[in-house]
C-alpha cells in the first residue's frame, strides 16, 4: 500500500529544504545568486503537488469506514521509551489535513507581494510556510501521543518565526513571544500528562514498546483520579491552542501583528490542533474525565462564544477583530465537542473545516484590503466608502463576513446549527441552558460583521482612497476556491459530513461507554 500520509508529511519537508535551505546561510547581500525570484513559484509548485497528493489520499480513503483510522503506518521510533512513528487518519483528521493542504497554496498566492522582493527573505518565508505545512499535516495524522506532543511543540518553531519575522504590526516580536510563552506553558503541562500517561499505561499492563499508541491507550482504564488529572493537563494545552477564554490573550495580539497569511495558517489550521486534540485525544483517552469536566467546559465554551463576539464588536483594528471572531467560533466548536451527541460532535468537526475556510477568507481579504491602504493601516476608522471604489473586494469581504456570521446557505451555517441543536439535546447537565445562552452569539456576529462592513465600505470614500485598485486576478484566484467551498458545502454538506459523521458516532459512543448508570437512566427516561 502506498504510504500516502508519510508522503504528504514528507513532501512539504522536501519543499522546505529545497526552497528554504539555500536561504539559511546566505546573507542578505548574497541574494543575487542562485535563481532569483524562484522561491515563490517553487514553493507554490510544491504546495500544489501536495494538493494532488491529497487527492490521492482521498481516493485511497474509504469513506464508508470513516470512523476508523485508515492509511495507517506504524514504525518504531525511539524504542527505549516506546515512542513510535504512527500515523493514520479518520474522517475528521483527513478533512483537517485537507484544510491545511488546501490553504497553504492560497496563502502563498495571497502573500505573493507581501514580503517584498528580497529573495533571501522570500526563501525564508516560503520555507517556513512549507515547514509549518509539514508539521500541521503530521500532527493531524499522528496516532502516537508522544509523536503528537513533539509535533504539537515543533509547530511553534515555524509559527514563531512567521509571526515575529514576517509580521506587519509594530508589536510582532512581542506578539510572537506571547504566543510562544502561552503555547509552551500549555505544552509543558501537557508533557507532564503525557509522561504520566505512559507510566500509568505501562503500569496497567500495556506493552512498553507501544504505550504511547492511542489505539492501545484507549482500551486502558487508568483510574478516575489519574484520568482527571491527565485530562486537565491535556485540556489546558488544547484550550490555550484553541483558544478559549480565559487563555485566549495571545490570539488578538498575534492576529493584529502577524501577516494575514500567517494568521490564516495559524488560526484557521494550527489552532484546530486544540479542538482536534480535545476530540481525538481527550475524549477517547479520558472518557470519564471528559464527562466529569463537560459542564465546566461547556460553560467556558459559551462564555468564549459571547466574549469573543463582544470583544470583536469593540475592536478598532480589522485583523484583531477577525482574531476575536475566531475566539467566538472556537467556543462553538468546543461546545459541540463536549455535548457528547453525534450531532454536536459532527457539527464541531464540520465547523473546524468551515471555520478554516470562512475565517481564512476573511483574513486574506482583510489582508488584501490592508495591503491597498497607502500606509497599510489596519485601523477600521481609516477606511470609508470603498464599495464604490473596489466593488469586487467589497463583495468578497461581505461573503466572507456572511460566512463568519453563519448565513444559511453557506457551510458555516450548517455546522453552527448542528452544534447548537446538538448542544441543546446534549448530555452534560445544563447543556441545553448553555446552548440557549450561546444563541445570542449569532446576533452579535451579525453586529460585528455588518458594523465593520458598514464602516469600511459604505458612505463617501475616504480621502486618499478614491483610486484604490480592485481585486487583482491573483487575489480573485485566492478568494474563489474558499467562497466556492463555502457555498458548495452549504448546500451539499454531505460531501464533508460523510467523513465526520461516523467518527462523531464513535466518539459519542466512547464517552458513553463508561457510564452504564447513565445509560440505564436514559433508557428509563426514554420509556
Amino acid at each position: 500500500m502506498f504510504p500516502w500520509l508519510t508522503v504528504l508529511i514528507a513532501w512539504p519537508l522536501v519543499g522546505a529544504a529545497v526552497v528554504g535551505l539555500g536561504a539559511l546561510g546566505r546573507s542578505r547581500t548574497g541574494s543575487a545568486s542562485a535563481g532569483i525570484g524562484l522561491a515563490r513559484p517553487l514553493a507554490l509548485l510544491f504546495s500544489l503537488v501536495e494538493v494532488a497528493l491529497l487527492v490521492g489520499a482521498f481516493a485511497a480513503f474509504d469513506p464508508g469506514a470513516a470512523a476508523e483510522h485508515q492509511l495507517g503506518e506504524t514504525y518504531p521510533w525511539i524504542p527505549q521509551i516506546g515512542a513510535t512513528y504512527a500515523v493514520g487518519v479518520d474522517g475528521v483528521g483527513l478533512l483537517l489535513v485537507a484544510l491545511s493542504v488546501v490553504l497553504v497554496p492560497l496563502v502563498l498566492l495571497a502573500a505573493w507581494r507581501e514580503q517584498g522582493r528580497d529573495e533571501v527573505r522570500l526563501r525564508r518565508f516560503v520555507g517556513l510556510v512549507l515547514l509549518l505545512e509539514a508539521f500541521m499535516v503530521a500532527v493531524f495524522c499522528a496516532r502516537d501521543v508522544f509523536l503528537f506532543y513533539v509535533l504539537f511543540e515543533a509547530m511553534l518553531i515555524p509559527a514563531y518565526f512567521l509571526i515575529g519575522g514576517f509580521g506587519q504590526g509594530a508589536g510582532r516580536r512581542r506578539a510572537a513571544v506571547k504566543f510562544l510563552m502561552f503555547s509552551l506553558g500549555g505544552g509543558l503541562i501537557m508533557l507532564a500528562a503525557v509522561i504520566a500517561l505512559y507510566f500509568l499505561a505501562v503500569g496497567a499492563g500495556v506493552d512498553p514498546g507501544r504505550a504511547f499508541l492511542v489505539d492501545e491507550l484507549v482500551a486502558v482504564d487508568l483510574g478516575t483520579a489519574a484520568e482527571r488529572l491527565m485530562f486537565i493537563g491535556f485540556f489546558i494545552a488544547f484550550a490555550i491552542k484553541a483558544p478559549m477564554v480565559p487563555v485566549h490573550s495571545w490570539l488578538p495580539d498575534v492576529a493584529g501583528n502577524a501577516s494575514p497569511g500567517t494568521s490564516t495558517l495559524l488560526i484557521c489550521v494550527l489552532d484546530k490542533v486544540g479542538t482536534f486534540g480535545m476530540l481525538t485525544l481527550c475524549l477517547p483517552l479520558f472518557p470519564e474525565a471528559s464527562r466529569w469536566a463537560a459542564p465546566f467546559v461547556i460553560a467556558l465554551a459559551v462564555i468564549s462564544v459571547l466574549y469573543g463576539a463582544i470583544m470583536a464588536i469593540l475592536q478598532t483594528d480589522l485583523l484583531r477583530l477577525v482574531g476575536w471572531t475566531s475566539v467566538s467560533h472556537f467556543g462553538f466548536i468546543i461546545l459541540g465537542i463536549f455535548t457528547f451527541t453525534p450531532l454536536g460532535t459532527a457539527g464541531s468537526s464540520f465547523m473546524m473545516l468551515n471555520h478554516g475556510l470562512a475565517t481564512g477568507a476573511l483574513f486574506l481579504v482583510a489582508g488584501f484590503l490592508v495591503s491597498r491602504h497607502p500606509e497599510k493601516s489596519q485601523q477600521i476608522a481609516d477606511y470609508r466608502g470603498l464599495r464604490s471604489v473596489t466593488p469586487v473586494l467589497a463583495g468578497t469581504f461581505l461573503v466572507a463576513g456572511l460566512a463568519t456570521l453563519s448565513l444559511p446557505g453557506l457551510a458555516t451555517f450548517v455546522s453552527e446549527i448542528m452544534v447548537l441543536i446538538g448542544a441543546f439535546s446534549g448530555e452534560p447537565a445544563g447543556s441545553a441552558a448553555w446552548a440557549i445562552a450561546a444563541i445570542p452569539g449569532v446576533v452579535l456576529a451579525a453586529v460585528y460583521v455588518l458594523l465593520t462592513y458598514q464602516k469600511i465600505f459604505t458612505g463617501a470614500p475616504a480621502a486618499g482612497l478614491e483610486a484604490l485598485p480592485d481585486l487583482r486576478v491573483r487575489e480573485r484566484i485566492v478568494a474563489a476556491p474558499l467562497v466556492a467551498g463555502l457555498l458548495v458545502l452549504g448546500f451539499v454538506p454531505g460531501l464533508a459530513l460523510t467523513y465526520v459523521d461516523a467518527p462523531a458516532d464513535e466518539s459519542a459512543a466512547l464517552t458513553a461507554i463508561d457510564e452504564p448508570a447513565d445509560a440505564a437512566a436514559q433508557m428509563g427516561s426514554d420509556k
Binding site: M181, T341, A346, S425, Q454, D501, A504
Partner: protein, 644 residues
C-alpha cells in the same frame, strides 16, 4: 402532479441562476442584465402557474406534495432533506411572489433606468425571489430558515443599495444593518424553536414535526415555548412589536424594493410561519394569545404612527406594519383566522405593492421628493397613478367591493368570535380591529389627498410632474386591477378559504359576539367617518407646507412612538455598557493577569538577584549557613550522632 413536480425546483432555480449570472457576469451583462432578471422571475411565475393549475385539478386531500431533492444534512440523529413542499399555502405564496415580483421587476427596469448599478439591483431582486420561494417552498424548518435569512440578506443588500458614494449614504447602510440585526434577533427564536423541536421530536421537517404525532410529543410547556420562539422570529421578520423599529428605516431602499420586500412579500413571512406552524400554536393556547396580543398592539402602533408621518414611504411602511398586525392577529386566532390571515396577506400584497409603486411613480415625477407636504394636486398630472393608487386606497380602507374589504372584514369578524368561551377576548380584540380600521381609513385618506388632492400644488414651480414610461405604469394598472377585483374573485363563496383548507384545516363555525351584519355595518361606518375626517382636514382645508408642531401624540407618532429611543435606552446602551465592561475587563484583568505571571517571575528574579552580590564571602556565608542548616535538620530528623 408527478409529471410536473420535477419543475418545482426551477421555481427557485430560475431566479437563483439569474442572480448568479448577474453577479458573476460583471459588466458584460450590463446591457441586457435587467431583462434577464425579469425573465428569470417570469419563468418562475410560469412554472408556478403550471403547478397551481395541476394542483387545482387534484382532489383536495391530495393537495400536499413533498418533493425530495437530495439529502441535505445527515449527521447523528438529524436527517434533513433538501425538499420542496407543494401545497395550497406554498403555492399561494409562489403566485404572489412571482406575479407581484415580476411586475415589480418590470417596473424597476424603468425606475432604475438611470442607475449605473441597475444590473446589481436586478441580481439582488432575483436573489430575493429565489430566497423567498425557498422560504415558502421549504419542507423543513431548517430549509425554511435558509430562505428566511436569505430574504434577510436580500433585504439587507437592497435597503443598502445606495450605501456609498455620498456621505449621507452611510445612513442607508445603517438602516440596512439595523434591519438585518433586528431580524437576527428574531432568528434567535427560530434557532431556539428548531433546537426545541429537534430535542422533542427528533426531526425538523414539517411532515414529522407538524404531524399529530410530532405535535403530540410536545408537552404543553414545550409547545408554548416553541410557539413563542417562532413568534419572536415572526416579529423580527414581519416588523411586529417589539421588533418593529427597522421597517421605517428600511424605506431607505429603492421604492420597488419597498413594494416587493417591505410590503408585499418578505415582511409577511412571519404570518406564513405562524400559519405554517399552526398545529404547534394550536397546542399552546398561551402562545396563541400572545400572538394575538402582538398583532393587536402592532396593528394600533402602526396605525397611530401612520397618521403622523409626512414622508409618503414611511407612512406606507407604518401602514404595512399595521396591516401585518391584522394578519398576525388573525393567525393567532386558530383555524378560523388562518385563511383570512393569508387572504389578507394576498390582497394586501396587491394593494400595498400598488400603493408603493404608485408612491414610487409620484417620487419619480417629483424628483425623489418624499415629503407629502410638498405634493398636492397631483391628480391632474399623474392620472394613471392617481386612479391606480385610488383603487389601492379604497382596497386598504375595506370599502366593498374592493379586495381589502373581503379579507379585512373576515379578520374583524373572526376577532369577534370568542375563544375558549372567553367573550372578553372577542370584545377586546374585535374592538381593536375596528378601531384600527378607523385609523387606517384616516391615515390612508390623509396620504391620498395630501398627494393628489388639494387645489394648490405645494411643490416648487420648476417641477413638471408627468407619468413615467409604460414600463412603470403597466404594473400599476395590473396591481390596481388586482386591488379592486382580487378580493371579490377569491372571497365570494369562500373560494380561497376552501383552497387553503387542506393546509390550515377546516374551521368550525362559531358565532361572533355580535351579529355579522352589525359588525360589518359598524366597521364600514367608522371607516367612512375616519376617511371623512381626513378628507376634511387634508382635502378641504389647506395643508401647511411646514408640519405644525402638533399635539403630544402627534409628536410621539412622528418619532415612531419613541421606538428608537426605547430600543436605545433599554437595549443598546446597556449592551454597549456591558460590552465596554467586558472589554475593560479583558484588558485590565485577563490580559494584565497573564502579564502578571512573567512579571512575578522577573520580580522574584530581581529579588534573588540581590543575593548575588558578587562577594565571595557572602557566598561562603551562604554555603556555611546551608551546611549548618542541613546539619541541624539532619540532626533533628535523623538523630545524627545518636547512640550507636
Amino acid at each position: 402532479m408527478n409529471d410536473v413536480i420535477g419543475l418545482a425546483p426551477w421555481l427557485v432555480g430560475f431566479p437563483l441562476i439569474g442572480a448568479a449570472i448577474l453577479l458573476l457576469g460583471g459588466k458584460a451583462t450590463d446591457r441586457w442584465g435587467h431583462w434577464l432578471g425579469v425573465l428569470a422571475s417570469a419563468a418562475s411565475g410560469v412554472v408556478g402557474f403550471i403547478l397551481m393549475f395541476r394542483m387545482i385539478g387534484m382532489p383536495a386531500e391530495e393537495r400536499s406534495v413533498d418533493h425530495h431533492l437530495w439529502t441535505w444534512l445527515s449527521a447523528g440523529d438529524l436527517d434533513v432533506d433538501l425538499g420542496i413542499r407543494l401545497d395550497p399555502l406554498s403555492l399561494t405564496f409562489v403566485m404572489l411572489v412571482t406575479f407581484v415580483g415580476t411586475l415589480i421587476h418590470v417596473y424597476s427596469v424603468a425606475y432604475m433606468d438611470h442607475d449605473p448599478h441597475r444590473r446589481r439591483f436586478f441580481a439582488y431582486l432575483n436573489l430575493f425571489v429565489a430566497a423567498m420561494l425557498t422560504l415558502v417552498l421549504a419542507d423543513s424548518y431548517l430549509l425554511l430558515f435558509v430562505g428566511w435569512e436569505g430574504v434577510g440578506l436580500a433585504s439587507y443588500l437592497l435597503i443598502g443599495f445606495w450605501d456609498t458614494g455620498r456621505p449621507a449614504a452611510r445612513e442607508n447602510a445603517v438602516a440596512a444593518k439595523k434591519a438585518f440585526v433586528m431580524n437576527r434577533v428574531g432568528d434567535m427564536g427560530l434557532i431556539a424553536a428548531m433546537a426545541l423541536l429537534f430535542a422533542n421530536t427528533g426531526a425538523l421537517d414539517f411532515a414529522t414535526t407538524l404531524s399529530d404525532d410530532g405535535v403530540g410529543s410536545l408537552s404543553q410547556a414545550t409547545a408554548t415555548a416553541v410557539g413563542l420562539c417562532l413568534l419572536l422570529a415572526a416579529c423580527g421578520k414581519s416588523a411586529q412589536f417589539p421588533l418593529q423599529a427597522w421597517l421605517g428605516d428600511a424605506m431607505a431602499g429603492p421604492t420597488p424594493v419597498s413594494a416587493l420586500i417591505h410590503a408585499a412579500t418578505m415582511v409577511t413571512a412571519g404570518v406564513y410561519l405562524m400559519v405554517r406552524s399552526g398545529p404547534i400554536l394550536e397546542a399552546a393556547p398561551t402562545a396563541q394569545l400572545v400572538v394575538v396580543l402582538v398583532g393587536a398592539v402592532t396593528l394600533l402602533f402602526g396605525a397611530v404612527v401612520g397618521t403622523a408621518k409626512d414622508d409618503i414611504k414611511k407612512a406606507l411602511a407604518a401602514s404595512t406594519m399595521s396591516q401585518i398586525g391584522y394578519m398576525m392577529l388573525a393567525a393567532g386566532l386558530g383555524p378560523a383566522g388562518y385563511a383570512f390571515a393569508i387572504f389578507h396577506l394576498l390582497t394586501h400584497g396587491f394593494f400595498k405593492a400598488g400603493l408603493f409603486l404608485g408612491a414610487g411613480s409620484v417620487m419619480h415625477a417629483m424628483g425623489d421628493e418624499t415629503d407629502m407636504r410638498r405634493y398636492g394636486g397631483l391628480s391632474r398630472f399623474l392620472p394613471i397613478t392617481w386612479i391606480t393608487m385610488g383603487l389601492g386606497w379604497l382596497a386598504i380602507l375595506g370599502i366593498p367591493p374592493f379586495s381589502g374589504f373581503w379579507s379585512k372584514d373576515g379578520i374583524i369578524e373572526a376577532a369577534f368570535i370568542p375563544v375558549d368561551g372567553q367573550p372578553w377576548r372577542a370584545w377586546v380584540f374585535g374592538s381593536v380591529t375596528v378601531l384600527g380600521a378607523a385609523i387606517t381609513a384616516f391615515y390612508m385618506t390623509r396620504l391620498f389627498f395630501m398627494t393628489f388632492g388639494g387645489r394648490r400644488p405645494r411643490w416648487k414651480d420648476n417641477r413638471h410632474p408627468h407619468e413615467g414610461s409604460p414600463l412603470m405604469w403597466w404594473p400599476l394598472v395590473f396591481l390596481g386591477v388586482g386591488s379592486a377585483a382580487l378580493g371579490a374573485v377569491l372571497g365570494i363563496g369562500g373560494t380561497f378559504t376552501t383552497w387553503l383548507e387542506p393546509v390550515v384545516g377546516h374551521a368550525e363555525h362559531h358565532e361572533p359576539v355580535l351579529p355579522v351584519p352589525v359588525i360589518m355595518t359598524v366597521t364600514i361606518l367608522v371607516v367612512v367617518l375616519g376617511a371623512l375626517l381626513a378628507f376634511r382636514m387634508y382635502a378641504v382645508n389647506v395643508v401647511p407646507e411646514e408640519a405644525p408642531r402638533g399635539s403630544v401624540l402627534t409628536r410621539a407618532a412622528r418619532r415612531d412612538l419613541y421606538q428608537d429611543a426605547a430600543n436605545e435606552t433599554l437595549v443598546m446602551r446597556p449592551a454597549l455598557g456591558l460590552a465596554r465592561v467586558v472589554e475593560a475587563g479583558d484588558r485590565e484583568v485577563v490580559d494584565r493577569g497573564w502579564a502578571a505571571l512573567p512579571q512575578t517571575v522577573s520580580w522574584f528574579g530581581s529579588v534573588f538577584r540581590r543575593a548575588q552580590s558578587g562577594y565571595v564571602r557572602s557566598y561562603a556565608a551562604g554555603m556555611a549557613g546551608g551546611v549548618l542548616v542541613i546539619a541541624v535538620v539532619a540532626w533533628l530528623v535523623g538523630g545524627l550522632g545518636g547512640a550507636q
